[in-house]
């Protein structure tokens, strides 16, 4: 009871914080629109492409609007409709001379190499003068500045950030059917024992199992309650400055042993390994599952579909369970820094490069922040009675999927700061409430302090060595062992089996890979 109260209190506290803009951005001043006839070309691999209803960007309000706002002609390009973005980017990179001026790609790891080979501009000497707003923003948080620099301290790109430092990074977590909880007179589980109890009670009462889409579970889920850092994917963590592999710790062993006991008791659905977001729905809408793991978007879909089918199931997000003392828990989530960056290629001459800097910098000014998140004031949005941005009927009455993306550009992988308010407007109230629960109910140092940081770079030599060591085998071995432990093909409680499991990692070169990762992390720290 006390704990629940504490969570509610914490929620209220944090909700008030998140409702106002926490950002201190520079005003754009009178820089824009820039008076120029020049044209810059801008390639985007990520999701900043025009909305599906437009044949190309010339019809897209956001893309044409940015030209108007900045005063610079932009020749946008994207991977063609239906193409694989990575492949398309790699073909473009194969001919550096014909590359667009701005390259929005997911290549942070290769940045140092591109700089060395003179394919992209080193922005260190220009950024303060031509992108003052971005420069100021980076210095509001050391993690931002670290992530967007190379190991030797060079600036080379513009990145994607989330206003609240990763509210949306924790987009998935545990969920439960509240109507069943009420029927059984249970409270929302907060510890792992209570969580297990809910699984058991639902199994006895309804024959339901603990089921989930594999993709929503495998990268990390309930391990925090055991103080572990991994589920089935190989997960690198940092503790007291030391890099480790989550799948080799005693805590992980305890976690997997717990899953194994659930499986033995018939509580852990054996279909889990092959369930997807689509196939799990058959179980959700057929009363075969009452407690699960899913994402904000799927949670919303489940509830909508229950209503549409005339059924009474209502799902809500619940906190990541802690251990029975209420102490430890960790969540899947991050620091709100994207993996896509926007580099300026050497196909731009010095003047064009400066122009590119200015165009990119717009997103990090007060005015640009609003444009990138909500579009043009008075057209797609305006302030409501509380003084907060709200979309106008042009958007709210639009029945297309995600209509706001016609007018704004702040999606994962673009070059701007995504407002938390936008995420609140974009998601359904129940999904927002769920994510508040997932994100705010866990202390920040637990939830992301142990994470492998975004923006680390391996050197060219390290990358080659990792390939030669077949480093990806670690991932294969970790996931396949997880399945064997849970299915009982290997006995995780047997000490010899466990010792053999640990010893096998040496065959896959774990010691050397850890050394390389440690060096990489240390360089990142000393940036």
């Amino acid at each position: 009871m006390k704990k629940a109260l504490a969570i509610v209190l914490a929620l209220c506290l944090l909700l008030t914080v998140s409702s106002a803009f926490a950002l201190e951005l520079l005003p754009a001043g009178d820089t824009y629109p820039i008076d120029t006839d020049a044209t810059i070309s801008w390639y985007v691999q990520g999701s900043l492409s025009p909305h599906d209803v437009y044949a190309d960007w010339t019809q897209s309000p956001f893309h044409t609007g940015l030209i108007e706002k900045t005063g610079v002609n932009i020749d946008w390009s994207f991977p063609t409709t239906g193409a694989d973005g990575n492949t398309y980017t790699n073909t473009l990179l194969a001919e550096p001379a014909t590359m667009p001026n701005i390259m929005g790609v997911s290549k942070m790891a290769d940045a140092a190499m591109y700089l060395n080979e003179g394919i992209i501009w080193d922005l260190t000497d220009y950024i303060e003068e031509y992108a003052p707003a971005y420069y100021a923003f980076l210095h509001t948080n050391p993690a931002y500045d670290k992530a967007l620099k190379t190991d030797d301290g060079k600036y080379y790109a513009f990145g994607f950030f989330r206003e609240d430092g990763g509210w949306n990074d924790s987009y998935r977590g545990p969920v439960v059917r509240t109507d069943w909880l009420e029927e059984q007179g249970l409270e929302i589980p907060t510890t792992i024992s209570e969580f297990e109890n809910v699984i058991r009670v639902f199994n006895e009462a309804y024959g339901a199992q603990f089921s989930f889409a594999w993709s929503r579970f495998k990268e990390g889920s309930l391990e925090g309650a055991f103080g572990a850092y991994a589920t089935s994917d190989a997960t690198w963590f940092i503790k007291d400055g030391e890099v480790g592999l989550g799948n080799t710790t005693e805590e992980w062993r305890a976690y997997v042993a717990w899953l194994r006991s659930l499986r033995e008791d018939g509580l852990f659905d054996e279909d889990n390994f092959s369930l997807t977001d689509t196939t799990i729905k058959a179980k959700v809408h057929d009363d075969k599952v009452g407690i699960s793991m899913t994402s904000m978007g799927q949670l919303n879909n489940w509830n909508k579909e229950e209503v549409a089918a005339g059924r009474e199931g209502t799902w809500i997000g619940i906190p990541y369970p802690t251990d029975d003392d209420g102490n430890i828990s960790s969540i899947f989530g991050g620091s709100g820094i994207g993996g896509y960056t926007y580099m300026i290629s050497k196909s731009a001459d010095e003047e064009t490069m400066k122009l590119c800097l200015q165009v990119l910098d717009y997103a990090y000014t007060q005015e640009g922040f609003l444009y990138w998140n909500f579009g043009v004031q008075g057209v797609s949005w305006d302030y409501d009675e509380n003084g907060e941005p709200a979309f106008l009927p042009l958007v709210t009455d639009d029945t297309d999927t995600d209509p706001m993306t016609k007018y704004n550009g702040a999606t994962w992988g673009s070059a701007c700061i995504q407002a938390t308010k936008l995420l609140y407007l974009k998601n359904s109230p129940v999904a927002v409430a769920a994510n508040d629960t997932w994100f705010y109910s866990v202390p920040a140092e637990v939830s992301s302090g142990w994470k492998w940081p975004n923006g680390t770079t391996f050197t060219v030599e390290e990358n080659d060595e990792l390939s030669l060591l077949n480093a990806s085998n670690i991932g294969t071995y970790a996931s396949e062992s997880f399945a064997k432990f849970v299915n009982g093909d290997l006995d995780i409680n047997d000490d010899t089996v466990w010792a053999e499991y640990l010893a096998n990692y040496d065959t896959y070169n774990l010691p050397r890979i850890l050394e390389i990762r440690q060096a990489c992390y240390d360089r990142y720290l000393s940036r």
Partner: protein, 301 residues
Amino acid sequence: MIKEKPNNKLIGRTAGDAVFDSVNTFILLLLCVVTLYPMYFVTCASFTKNTYLLTHQGSLFWPVGFNVGAYRLAFTHPLLLSGYKNILIVLAVSLPINIVLTLFCGYFLACKNVLLKKPILFIIMFTMFFSGGMIPAYLNIRDLGLYNTLWALILPGAVSVYNSIICRTAIEAVPDSLSESAYIDGANDLVIVFRIILPLIMPTIAVLLLYYGVGHWNAWFNASIYLKDNDKLPIQNILRAVLIANSNTLNSAATENDQVNEFAESIKYAAIVLTTVPVLCIYPFLQKYFVKGVMIGAVKG
């Protein structure tokens, strides 16, 4: 003069024949049911209400909550019409090139007593197994000035070695005596290929047309990297985009935008129907070439 296979019934059907025919028919019917049901399911599913589809995955006997929402959504795609137009252009230009080159290649490979046949055969076969890879192929397209033109979809697959070998096998079955007598009449190889060989291997040509046609129809990868403008894309790329946008398994951006639209399920099935129907319409026209035997009459004549 075309002869059909004489009907066994008329020539005195034995008891063994009757058993044979019944067993044969039974097995084929069984196969049809096993094959047809999933196809029938796909068609029903494309017209079914999304919510119903979620709980009845894999089993449907008729469309429930009949609606054409998925098709309407597919047809509102701004690139659908240009997609159909582009693939028609590609087919119209490609198929004649494909067939003529394959015929030439198959004919050459079937010829005897040609001095340089062995080395040329090697040169041709080698390309079946070894290729430079995606990036060099892409640079080559740019180099030849084909980038962002429909020629980039037409020329790289102009002749398939595999199909040429099939064509060669068919040509080898044509009796040598026919071309020899034409030689004596003073015809050259070009005349022989078109006047004598071609009419005799029409069933194989029909198959080749189908192979090449469906190959172009299904291809999407080259278009996705050799083209820059969306309005030059063929239909398959558009349908793929529709499929990916509505599929969590394939959509890498699913982490943030995983609220798919209300036709997410049925549109996957609609995309299949849209891809299959055109081939379904053309197939019967080609089919008649290999249901009837055309060889015999001509050989005699």
